[in-house]
Amino acid sequence: MAMYDREPIRLKTDVLVVGGGLAGTNAAVGAAEAGASVVVMDKGKIERSGDIGGGVDHFLAYLNEGPAWDTREAFLGYVEKVGRGTNHISHIESLFCDELPAAIERMARIGNPLTQPDGTYYRTASMGQPGPYWINFNGKLLKPRLARAVRKLGCKVLSRVMTVDLLVDSGHVVGALGFHIHTGRFFIVEARATVVATGNTNRIFENPRGNPFNTWLCPYNTGDGQVMALRAGASLTNMEYMRLTMLPKGFAAPGFNALTGMGGRFMNSLDEYYMEKNHPLGNRAPRYACVMNSLDEMRAGRGPIFIDCRHLSDKDLDHLQATLGYDKDTLPDYLAQRGEDLRKHPVEIMVSEGMQAGPTETNGSGIKIDGNAAATAPGLFACGDAADHNRCVHGAVTGGFRAGKSAAGYAKSQNLAPSEMIRNTRERMDRFIAPLLRGSGYPFQQIEDTIRKIMSEHVGMTRTDLGLRKGLEKLERLAPHLDDMKVEDLHGLMRSHETRSILTVGKMMATAARFRTESRNKPYHYRLDYPETDDANWCGLVVVQVKNGGADSGFQCSFERIVYKSH
C-alpha cells in the first residue's frame, strides 16, 4: 500500500471551517444558516472532537434575571476587571453579548438546553465574578447534537483530515490543504472564506504528571491553526500568556471549577484556608490569583494542597456528585479509583501544566480578530480558543456562530479563482509527507520533550529577559531538527506536524513575553525583572507577525493600546 496518494482530492466551497470542535461546529451552523456551502475538516470526528467532545458542564453568561450583576453592563465590568489590558471590550460586546440570546435559543433548539430538566438555570459564581455567571448544565451530548445539526444543514464533513497549511493567493486566504490520517490522501479545499477553529496550544510545557497527553485542555490541540494563520500573514495577540489552572492531583481533568463554584475551600497541609487569608474574594478569586497563591503555598513547603468540600450541604454535595462527570466523563471514576470522597476528606489538588491560552475566561489568545471575527489576513476568520477575543464554551458557541455568519457574508463577495498556490501544491505535499519517507531520524516525542524542557525552564511561570533570550536561542537551535523527525505511520505524521506547530508557538510565546516588559495576570505573564503591572505603558495587546513576510524565521512584535471607558 502506498503511504500516500499523490493525486489530491479537490473540493470547492463558500466557507471552509478548519477544526470541528465546539467553535468550529457553531461556525459551520452559522455559515450554513446564512446560505453558504460549507466544508468542515477535523483531525477527529466532529461528534466527539475538541475540548468538550466528551462533555461539558458550564457556560458563562448574564441572563438579565433582575439583580444588578446580571446585566450586560455588569458583565462587561467583570470582563474588564479580570482581563484589563488583554481585550477590547467592544469586541467582546459584538462577539459574545450580541450573539448571546440567539446562542441560548440555539442550544435549546439543537437539543442541549442550558437549563435543568425543570426548566430553571443552576447558577454558581467563582473566578472573581460579581454574581453567579456560571450556568451548570448537562453537556455530555452537546457535541453529538451539534454534529447532527451540522450534517442536517448539508455541510460536508471531512473526518480524520489534518489541515497542514492555508492556501494564500495575493495575500488572500483561499482555502486549505490537508491529509487524511488513515489513507494519506491529500485534500485541497478552495474556499471563498476560511474559518480557523483549532483551539489553543497544549503539550508545550513539561507536564507535572509525566505524560504530556495528560492535559487539562485537549492534548490534540497544538496551535496548528494559529501557526498556519501566522504563515498566511495574519497577526496574533496575547501569545505571551501561559495559562495554568487547578486540577485534581494526578489527572488533568476539568470539572473542579464546580467545586469552588459551590463553595469549596482551598486548603494547605497545615489545615489553613489560604485563599481566604490572601485574597479579598477568597476561594472565588480570579483563576490566576488562585493559581498564584497555590504556587506560593507549594513553594513555601506548605503542600500538599487540597480542596475542602466537607462543609457543603448534602443537597450541594448531591448536586456535585451527580454532575462532576458532565465536564469530564471519567472524573468520577478517577476519584473513586483513587479513594477520594468529597464528603469525607479534602481532595488533593495541584497546579496544572502550563499551556498557551487566553489570560482569562472571557478572552483568548491567538489569531487577532475584529468584532466580526475577521482576522487581519483577508478571507480568514477565527473563533474559539484559536482566536484572541473568544474563549471557553460560551465564547465558542457565540463567537463561533458569528465567525461562520461573517465568513458566509464575505464569501458572497468573492470569486473562486484557482491560484498559482493551489495549482502548485505537489512540492508542498512532498514536504509534508517527508517524515514518513525519511530513512532515519528522531521520533516526534524526542523533539517535543526538548521543546517542553526549554519552555519550562525559560518561558514558564517566572520569566526574565536573559532567561527568555536563552530560551529563544535554544528553540532556534532546535528548529532545524524538526526536519530530522522520522515517523512510522500516518498517525505519527500527524503528531510530527503538531510538534512543528508547538515549536513555532513556543518561539512566539518567548518573543512576545520578552517584548512585554511588565507583569500581567501573574503567573500567566510574570517577569521577575518587571514584577509590577504597568498600565501606563502596557495596557494593551502585544501583536505578533512574521518578520519580513517570511515563515518561521522570526517574529516582529508591536503594541496595540487599549483604552477603557471606565478610566
Partner: protein, 70 residues
C-alpha cells in the same frame, strides 16, 4: 491501561475507534470479527467518548498507577 475493552460484550462495531478524538483506538481483525484495542496507549486523554458511545457498554476505564498513586 486507560480504556479496557470487554471482548465478550463487544460486537466489533467500531464506534469507539471512529469517535476517539486522539485516533488512539484501532480495530484488529481476527478470523471471526473485529476487536478494538489501544494502539497509541500513552496518547489517551481519558475523555470517555468511546465509553459513552459504546452501544454494548463494553468499555471500562482503568487509570494507571502513575496517575492513581502519586
Amino acid at each position: 491501561m486507560p480504556m479496557v475493552f470487554d471482548y465478550e460484550r463487544c460486537d466489533g462495531c467500531g464506534d469507539c475507534a471512529a469517535v476517539c478524538p486522539g485516533d488512539v483506538i484501532y480495530l484488529k481483525h481476527d478470523a471471526v470479527r473485529k476487536r478494538p484495542y489501544n494502539r497509541y496507549v500513552d496518547e489517551c486523554w481519558h475523555c470517555g467518548s468511546c465509553r459513552q458511545d459504546c452501544p454494548q457498554q463494553a468499555i471500562k476505564v482503568t487509570f494507571p498507577p502513575d496517575m492513581l498513586c502519586t
